[in-house]
Symmetry: C2
Subunit: 681 residues, 2 copies
């Protein structure tokens, strides 16, 4: 019950999560492979079609309200459901009354907008799916009756090609760098077929029989759909190049495109004495921004799906750059979906587990306990679902129907995989933190004990003292000899190894020559983070220069899904047996954002919402670096060279930590934005 609150803004409301679930359903079916639909291969959850909203008011005099709904609605007062009304203008009686509004919509999520002098839909309203579940209504920024949630689309802005050349008499447009959006024909005329071959690379656009994305249309019909003389194609594509084949009778003035994007601004910054690293940072940012959309996507050309393991990394990069929490929350909601849990997220066991760690990171970087509360029950049921797969030794194994992914590599993943156990332990620690935030100390302790248990078992059963790391898997109670970097680096990243073992892992596993190399930026993200955790900053910068710099040397304008520097020039584009199947703009390629912010600028939250944080900068051999990292309620700036560190922060209880003459020194950082400086000589 809320008293009249003059001044609150009316906004569209819905059943919480259903806007995101519906948007995810639509987004997950946009993929086209050479023009042919290719929907996600997992269950796509759906919004509730039948919803009821309620709100109790107290008014000194009657009030006229206007009602808009997405769906068929009816309104009644004080539970009198046989006295319904579906007029768009209603006069509410004075006094204390409960409004109920049922909305049914089997296409888009049912949504409601009510506006009166005092009575206005907002998060104070409640919603039910008729499952004994009155919950605060979902809402966002749809504050006009003419701007309903179902009409949501990203921002667009025109872009022109930077060059055009004729190849075999057909125009090849180059937009200068990877982009995403809708091609547009200005003043299209004539009749005949038009075919467009898109390419992330020039080679792809020039391969009509093999490029991944293409469009076909008939010019006459298209011209009739033009608005203000411009025909805009219906589906957005990811591309840098477009090669346009048209029948002889077809003419146009020029071709441009409508760039589609989330209007996010970078709240971080990074510059340093090595301009290559600066270029890598900027290219990473752009790569991440292109994949920051309705949700964090894996890549913008091929799948365009929401993958939990990919999103886990995008979340982390985002905390050090755009700090866009809308996309983060949408992605967390879409991944969790609805019950019943039958398959794992994206069908992958590890990807269900990453969700806990992702939600924990969200909590840590934002302190948004309300969101954790909203999803706590679903976190509990997801954990129950995962724990049900423990074997006789208490280790989590994939079921026959599960994909245990870990990495694109030659891995055998049946039995109990050590990396899974490590992520599971971290997930249980996350659950323990969530339960504590819910003030359920019993559950918190129970999850904590489970985390300890699985961690202890894993370190005991998989640690191989000869190899100096965690072996990869255990089958029928027997640990197998195969050694991979994955479990060891996750264990190190989560702080699960004692200093001795950490040193062994660095020497024998991470830097050892006998262990299979990691080839995906996906796992290099974790690998390089682990190396940073153990102080190998210089080594990491070398790797970044070679790996990401290697892509730049090949002309990359965004970072790729995979990169093998040993391949010949033209051999980089195929993947999964598909010509040009490799995504050249893949979120997980943007890892340097995270590495630079967390391990070089050195900013790390210590408690939820960055209420306390540490700044522990490392030059890693650079002459100087400076940059910024967003905080939940402010930002941190770091400026360092070999002689001194300067730091300022707005908000939070920050500590600058650095070494001097073999000693570790800590200085409190004022929260008022004033600079402090620490000498290093």
């Amino acid at each position: 019950m809320t008293q009249r609150q003059t001044g609150r803004r009316a906004t569209w409301i819905w059943y919480p999560g259903d806007f995101e679930i519906r948007l995810h359903e639509k987004t997950s079916t946009k993929r086209r492979a050479r023009g042919v639909p290719y929907p996600a291969f997992w269950r796509l959850d759906r919004h509730y079609s039948n919803i009821k909203f309620r709100y109790t008011y107290e008014l000194p005099s009657e009030e006229r309200i206007e009602i808009a709904a997405e769906g068929v609605f009816s309104l009644y007062l004080d539970g009198k459901d046989n006295e319904r009304c579906d007029a768009s203008v209603v006069t509410l009686p004075a006094g204390r009354h409960e409004i109920s509004v049922s909305v049914f919509n089997d296409v888009e999520a049912p949504a409601l907008f009510i506006e009166g002098p005092n009575i206005r839909t907002d998060a104070d309203w409640e919603a039910t799916s008729y499952q004994h579940d009155w919950v605060p209504a979902g809402c966002w920024t749809f504050d006009l009756p003419s701007d309903p949630p179902s009409a949501f689309r990203l921002a667009v802005t025109p872009q022109a090609p930077v060059s055009e050349e004729a190849v075999h008499d057909h125009p090849l447009l180059d937009f200068g760098r990877e982009t995403f959006g809708y091609l547009r024909f200005h003043h299209l005329e004539g009749a005949g077929r038009v075919r467009i071959y898109y390419g992330e690379s020039r080679a792809e656009a020039l391969s009509p029989d093999a490029c991944y994305s293409l469009d076909r249309f008939e010019a006459g019909a298209a011209a009739r759909q033009a608005e203000d003389g411009i025909y805009t194609l219906a589906d957005a594509k990811a591309f840098r190049y477009a090669w346009i084949h048209a029948d002889p009778g077809v003419r146009w003035d020029r071709v441009s495109m409508l760039y589609e994007y989330v209007p996010a601004t970078n709240r971080g910054a990074f510059a340093c004495s090595d301009p290559k690293l600066g270029e890598i940072y900027e290219t990473s940012l752009y790569t991440l921004h292109l994949n920051t959309r309705e949700f964090f996507l894996d890549g913008i050309k091929r799948d365009r799906w929401v993958w939990s393991g990919d999103a886990y990394q995008a979340f982390l990069m985002n905390y050090y750059s755009f700090f866009d929490l809308d996309v983060t929350r949408r992605t967390l909601i879409a991944l969790r979906g609805k019950d019943p849990l039958v398959m794992h997220f994206n069908t992958i066991l590890d990807y269900s587990l990453y969700w806990f760690v992702s939600l924990y990171d969200y909590y840590l970087y934002t302190g948004d306990v309300a969101f954790v509360r909203q999803y706590y029950d679903r976190a509990v049921s997801l954990m129950d679902f995962c724990l049900a797969q423990r074997n006789a030794e208490g280790l989590i194994e994939g079921r026959p129907q599960d994909w245990v992914f870990i990495d694109w590599a030659d891995l055998e993943n049946d039995g109990a995989v050590s990396t899974i156990q490590i992520i599971a332990a971290r997930s249980l620690e996350a659950m323990s933190a969530f339960a504590a935030a819910m003030e359920d100390e019993v559950a918190s302790a129970a999850y904590g004990a489970l985390a300890e248990d699985i961690k202890e078992r894993t370190l005991r059963l998989f640690w191989d003292d000869e190899a100096g790391g965690l072996l990869h898997r255990r089958v029928n109670g027997v640990t197998q000899p195969a050694l991979t970097k994955h479990a060891s680096m996750f264990a190190m990243g989560f702080g699960y190894l004692n200093p001795d073992r950490q040193a062994r892992v660095i020497r024998d596993v991470m830097l050892g020559s006998g262990v299979p190399r990691i080839r995906t930026p996906y796992m290099r993200f974790h690998e390089l983070a682990a190396l940073c955790e153990s102080g190998q900053h210089e080594r990491v910068l070398e790797e970044v220069r070679a790996y990401w710099g290697g892509m730049l040397d090949l002309g990359a304008t965004t970072f790729w899904e995979a990169f093998d520097p040993t391949l010949a020039d033209g051999a980089h584009y195929d993947m999964y047996g598909i010509p040009f199947g490799k995504s050249l703009c893949h979120a997980w390629g943007a890892g340097p954002i995270y590495l630079f912010g967390k391990y070089f600028l050195g900013v790390r939250p210590l408690s939820p919402g960055c209420a306390s944080f540490v700044v522990e900068p490392h030059l890693g051999g650079l002459d100087w670096m400076k940059g910024a990292v967003p905080l939940s309620g402010g930002e941190v700036e770091v400026d360092m060279d070999a002689s001194r560190i300067r730091v300022r922060a707005t908000g939070g209880q920050g500590v600058l930590r650095y070494g001097l003459d073999g000693e570790t020194i800590e200085l409190a950082i004022p929260s008022d934005g004033s600079w402090i400086e620490a000498g290093l000589r």
Copy 2:
């Protein structure tokens, strides 16, 4: 894998159950209260939007197929999901190959139709919702590409009013009896408003401010939508009368209606020496037929929803009349819906339990073990859900969010209600039978033991020897003194009482004067069945004549939701505090169909599919009766007077059982349709 089978017919296929689930979603939101939407107040389950079909073929030569889909589709062979095609004509290669077709549709259930000389969609195809669930595809009678499942609608045929009179200068049409469909205006002309007030009764149609169903339209706009000079209203209504108010400028030739119905034919029959009973039988049939629609509805005017307790009775009536198994299966599927189970069916605990008994009856009357197999898993999970509500004494109690209904009567239903336990015991017996049909003897025995346990506890804890019946409920381990007929009559109907207790129940509860009377035809159905079970046939006919005959005496053309003969003439139409809120065409009013068929003609299945059955006719004081009852694979005819019984049957192992000189005699009934005769003197 299926070899080529020339001659099989192509038919539309879908994920099994999803056609029904989607139809149910649409049907459950058709209710309008005085023109205002009134959707069902429970979660409406939804079809999977993302589906994949598969089929493995072996062809000696390549073959051209045509593909139609409801939704966006793509096809590929042999798991090569990166080589998709969405052409509507495809040439399949010779040899052995697996076809996969993904179909996405977020509005209607994804459906597929493929037709080639040999390759044709049908029940041999499989479907998955991407949940590790390859199951046989659903299909029905949609055998043309131009007749997709989403276009399903019931049959229609024109009807004309039997009379028209002017009341206050507005035409009042009388269609002679209750009907259902779309009003039509022939040669509508002019401009102005038209308002239609519908009535199941004359009084209702003549109450513009209170009638339940109404329509409003503007004549000019309507006339422009006319086809062949006829404007048909968009929404169907239940009514006998329609009072039409039109502005002066509006004219039309005549008004008729399009009757909407399931083309089911009565395979039963009943006639007897009392013409009143014949009229009751025919009116019951018509009442049931009107409610036999997309699903078995409760009533056609008000809710138009699928209620499990109501459907339970309609199913039974249907086995003695239309034997329409399509509507039965659709209703069973819609009621079970999808997981997760959070609330009970229609929010009512008893209504979840009735589903087991209904499915058991379906199995018993049809022998359709394939359908039981398809829903066995969902039956198991529903039973788990119900059993989770057992209290410390092992009795099932309603949760705070549950509606424990039992009957429209002054009942207190918190704590453990005895009627719930009796229906639960029967449900567990049903589960035991299903498990046995699945050849899971362990589960069958376990369910059987649970049934025995709950039955034994109930009879022990609720039987009151002084009252001679089962008391109504038990709260915190204390059985409360209130006595109702419900539990005792269910226990008797299910054969749970020994002869002594049965006699006590008949004398002290069923016929005793101190027990609250049952007022709804809903529970009179069970009450009269219980009386028949104990041989009170004459008494039952008296009740039928008084109760159903009483409605006929008041001019009923279909039977009502409730009837209190003591009310004044004009006082019959209100219910739930709504003027004209009472449904005058309610499925549960058609109970005599079942009573006459099962207890007077006396035909009862003894084993699934009526493989064996008994015919035990009772005249109940009539001079003669004759009639027919459908069997799964034939029919039974009975012709009886005081001197002899004649019986014939087509199919099944039937036994005629009758009494002669105090002895019970059994005669085998030949299955070839020839008559046998037994003398009674």
